[in-house]
Symmetry: C2
Subunit: 247 residues, 2 copies
């Protein structure tokens, strides 16, 4: 079993015409932890424009394998998926990108697999699709389904990463926020009610569910300890006439 199934995935770009797309694809792969870029008969490669668009992924570009044919590119692949924007006459089964990614990662845990993209203008030929076991497509607007090839690589690479490592993210500032406790929050509500009564905003003979609505608002926000302290201070200060505040 490979520790990282993404290392067993090669991404094959067939006859890519614009070097900028090769560079952008390299960057897209690297952001998702993929590196196995394989180029079949690229239009212009290497090329300064590819390097310019690869930005920090020039290493992926330089390690790219250049092949003369798709057969050469697919040698050793145990499961090969062709990406296409349109249904084909050939009855190769077609699934959405998400499902294709899950199936690729499953095989990639033990054997090399490949994901194949066609030329910018014509996509993959019928013969190229025939060398693959599965067709995958990115669900798109039927009226305009033509993703740029590097954009399509980005979406597939993203789904592959999620299939391998899940969709969770580490949250913000390192340590999790400390939620305020029940009694801290109740102390704030008491201060709030006192202040509103004193200011005449809350009429004790006609309270109109004001406190209930305020409780609902603050209840929803999951107040943190520091926040409840700030709010307590704000309310207390506002409710104290300026002349009586300590300097």
């Amino acid at each position: 079993m490979a520790d990282d199934p993404l290392k067993n995935i090669r991404v094959v770009l067939c006859e890519t015409a614009h070097p900028g797309n090769i560079g952008a694809a390299a960057r897209a792969l690297k952001t998702m932890g993929l590196a196995g870029l394989t180029l079949v008969a690229p239009g212009r490669f290497p090329d300064p424009q590819a390097e310019w668009l690869a930005v920090g992924a020039v290493d992926v570009l330089r390690r790219a394998r250049v092949c003369a044919s798709l057969d050469e590119a697919l040698a050793g692949s145990a499961f090969t998926v062709a990406c296409t924007a349109r249904p084909r006459e050939v009855a190769v089964p077609m699934v959405a990108a998400r499902e294709a990614a899950a199936r690729l990662v499953e095989v990639a845990r033990t054997q090399p697999v490949a994901l194949v993209f066609g030329n910018e203008t014509c996509g993959l030929t019928g013969a190229e699709v025939g060398k693959c076991q599965l067709l995958a497509t990115i669900p798109a607007d039927p009226g305009f389904s033509s993703l740029n090839v590097a954009a399509a690589v980005q979406v597939f690479a993203y789904e592959l990463r999620l299939a391998a490592f899940g969709a969770t993210v580490r949250n913000g500032s390192g340590k999790p926020p400390e939620h305020a406790t029940h009694d801290e929050i109740e102390r704030f509500y008491e201060q709030l009610e006192r202040s509103l009564l004193k200011a005449g905003f809350l009429n004790p003979r006609n309270p109109k569910k004001l406190m209930a609505r305020l409780r609902r608002l603050f209840g929803r926000t999951q107040l943190e300890q520091e926040e409840v302290n700030i709010l307590y201070g704000v309310i207390k200060t506002l409710a104290t006439p300026k002349s009586k505040r300590s300097r």
Copy 2:
């Protein structure tokens, strides 16, 4: 309720420096059925390079709203999500792109919402993030998490479309394939067994589960009617000595 929640989503690009990225973002949006492109203080716009990279999405580009400030761009938005590649000190909660898309689409069924992307080099400032209710990030390789801004727009637009309309795709050639029936398949297995016996490949005194293995192989493939007819013909022809074949 909007019929199409995607119509209620505006995508705000802040101070985008390269017009090519604006064009590529317009194309990314259009492929996913989104159109509400909003530009805050773009570096160069309009620009021929933006049109060149928009390809068939020049209409989205031309209808883009150009604003002087993020406040102007967000007027009317009932829920605003900031996209970021890195956790922030500000304790705005952060979720993965997929969850952010689901929450945006939920609100967008009834009210306008916004998704905000920062400048290519610096991302969003703390002040810009402070105007948003939620941070969203694309899970990426921690060692190289810098997606191109148009690539990030593509991934988010893709997740928004899936959140609105699901991940299913229509399969291939229009009419679903006709699966072969039990009796058609059994007729093929009988022919296969007869042919293998005749050719001496199958030894009746030591069959070694050969037929069981062949059944397992063909069983897995969900044979279609046309395929089983082809296989039947192939086996029958191969098993008939050339001299005996009808011309």
